[in-house]
Amino acid sequence: MPWEGTASSFAPVAIGVPLLVACLLAALGKLLPRWAVDAVATVAVVGVVALDVVLLRATRAGRVVTWVGAWTPSRGSSVGISLVADRLGAGLALLAGVLVLAALVYSWRYFEDVGAHYQVLILLFLAGMTGFVLSGDVFDMFVFFELMGAVAYALTGFLVEDDTAVQGALNFAIINSLGAYFTLTGIGILYARYGALGLPQLGEALAGQPPDALLVIAFCLVCVGFLVKAAVVPFHFWTADAEAVAPTPVCLLFSGVMVALGVYGVDRVYSTVFGEVLPHDAVRRALLVLGALTALVGALMCFLQRHLKRLLAYSTIAHVGLFLAAAGTLDGPGTTGAAVYVLGHAGIKGALFLIAGTVLSRYGSVDEVSLHGRGRDARVMPWLAVVAGLALAGLPPFGTGLGKAISEEALSASGFRWGPVLFVLVSALTGAAVLRAAGRIYFGLGPKPQDDDQDEASGDEQDRETPALPRVRATMLLPIAALLIGALAIGAVPAVARGVSSAAREFLDGQGYVQQALHGAAAEPPAPLTEAAWTATGVALDVLSVLLAAGLAALALWKAQLPDRLRTVTRPMRSAVAALRRAHSGHVGDYVAWLLLGIAAFTALVGVPMI
């Protein structure tokens, strides 16, 4: 039977180790010196990363199924709770582990004075993320989702003396919790009807049922929490508030992996439970509409920011939109593109957040206008920032460029001709915003802009998270360099994309998931896709994005020198932009209203075409 053997104990141990060490540190942290707390936490995370690697290797032979407490199914039915690690899930667990390791190493010298509860929270966060991606039970997914959530709220408001941090944490907590309750309602409806909570059990119970209104409502409600976590428009408002104020190493985790897990949740539940029931076309349309909208709103808001961390947060929203659009094709190439893009983006965006952290700790602000030319003395960081900005726009051979290229071709192949246009435009806008900020801060390019816009959140009020640093420490530079090299390797090593493509096909095979988990059927490892590689069109579109990004950045830097005739062209856009800005009000009541509207819109998008 495939659910017995050593491999099946890796998944629970990978979740249990960080939980256990977190409890130990919470109890003993006050007695230990800072270096010992760091050492214990780092060793624990290295251990989890090693377990994830072993688990990922074990999944090559098929999904690793663990029935907790040995409540194995008999004759295809089970009351047990399962952990099901497939290649995509184990890969995401590994990504979470690696990013947590980078965040911890960066924090060694970044925070001078931090109690052991910081490391405790980071370890709990890792346990939540690992559990979420390895769980084979929809209620367990909810529990790990809530664990991830509660820890994330605490980490966001970690610097409680900061005015904005407490408000950002509160907005984040209320919206995320409310989203989770809608998810729980959806789970309740599923249980009421089918008497099961396990993904494989539900998948088997639903297969062959006619789709009806209650199923559509259950699917949409279950997705609400995941869409909130994924920062999909119009559920995205918490993201910029939280990521602008959370400690920088935590932003790396939010942006690099947590939001991607939201997209994973939607796709996992759809492919295992609802894939045989709800028509692909209706769900695909809903996901593509939400994805495209998210990408456009995120990119536009990103380009308008002057607060570095808000800028990066909106850029994350833009990229999540692209992930959702690519994964929303619900086919192998699209899911492969999204997964490669997630991996590349995690490295690049993580590095960018850590660079923003060095800016904050050295110059005491994250405002690109008031920091104009302040970073001229830095030697390495400017070039890392420029490389990361170009990579964000899709510079080959970075993983972001490859993910973008595969996604574009997947969308074109499915008949969505607007796909490549959207991807080029959005990645160029976000890359341009980063290049513009780097040009201003590190190179003093362009005239210093007039400081007259009162509407914008400026980065000057942002409190330092650390004492001022005379120079960037080696332990802070190392994670930045490692993340950039990792993102480069994901695009440059062909085996990565090939591996991801067979993981994606396995992920989409909901029937295979049910058969293997419940009936112990032998796994059939899917062949990798031939599309998962660089093509001439892909490289050309990537280069186009990079050139467009550089052009837009230059335009933004020197717009004051443009002739008046050209500047009047942009005037009609200003009222639309002002309205978009006003919608991001920082008011939690508004966010809840948008959430309710979003639920209605998503349900209508999925349900109305099926009537």
Binding site: F139, V143, E146, G149, A150, Y153, A154, G157, V160, E161, D162, D163, T164, V166, Q167, G168, A169, L170, N171, A173, I174, S177, L178, A180, Y181, F182, L184, T185, G188, Y191, A192, L197, A240, D241, A244, V245, L304, Q305, D455, E456, A457, E461, R581, H584, S585, G586, H587, V588, G589, D590, V592, A593, L595, L596
Partner: protein, 115 residues
């Protein structure tokens, strides 16, 4: 179980959400969030309820074949309550901290995060 319990569950969930949307005080918003969550408790318990069935405790007097209310949803509700306690405590602590830093708990007057 009559449809009444499901109506109450849906109403609590939505009224709580609307309460947060209209809230002028963060403590009020936190309580509204708890009300929203109570909707999920009612829903879960209603799903497992059976008319005339006893609690799911088997002893010497009740045979294992007795019809009982569903213990699974009760376990889910307990988990849900634990989550609620954690989140509510955290949110109230944040509200106190917001009062200290901003001097107000009216969301209309908190404007540090616009745009």
């Amino acid at each position: 179980m009559s449809v009444y319990a499901y109506v109450v569950a849906g109403a609590l969930l939505l009224l709580g959400a609307i309460g947060i949307a209209r809230s002028r005080d963060l403590v009020h918003a936190v309580v509204c969030l708890s009300i929203s969550q109570s909707g999920t408790y009612v829903l879960l318990l209603a799903i497992g309820y059976q008319d005339g069935a006893p609690a799911p405790v088997f002893g010497s007097t009740s045979a294992p074949t007795t019809r009982v209310v569903d213990p699974v949803v009760q376990a889910l509700t307990l988990t849900d309550i634990v989550v609620s306690a954690t989140v509510t405590a955290l949110l109230l602590a944040l509200s106190i901290q917001i009062q200290k830093r901003h001097g107000t708990v009216d969301p209309d007057e908190l404007s540090a995060l616009e745009g």
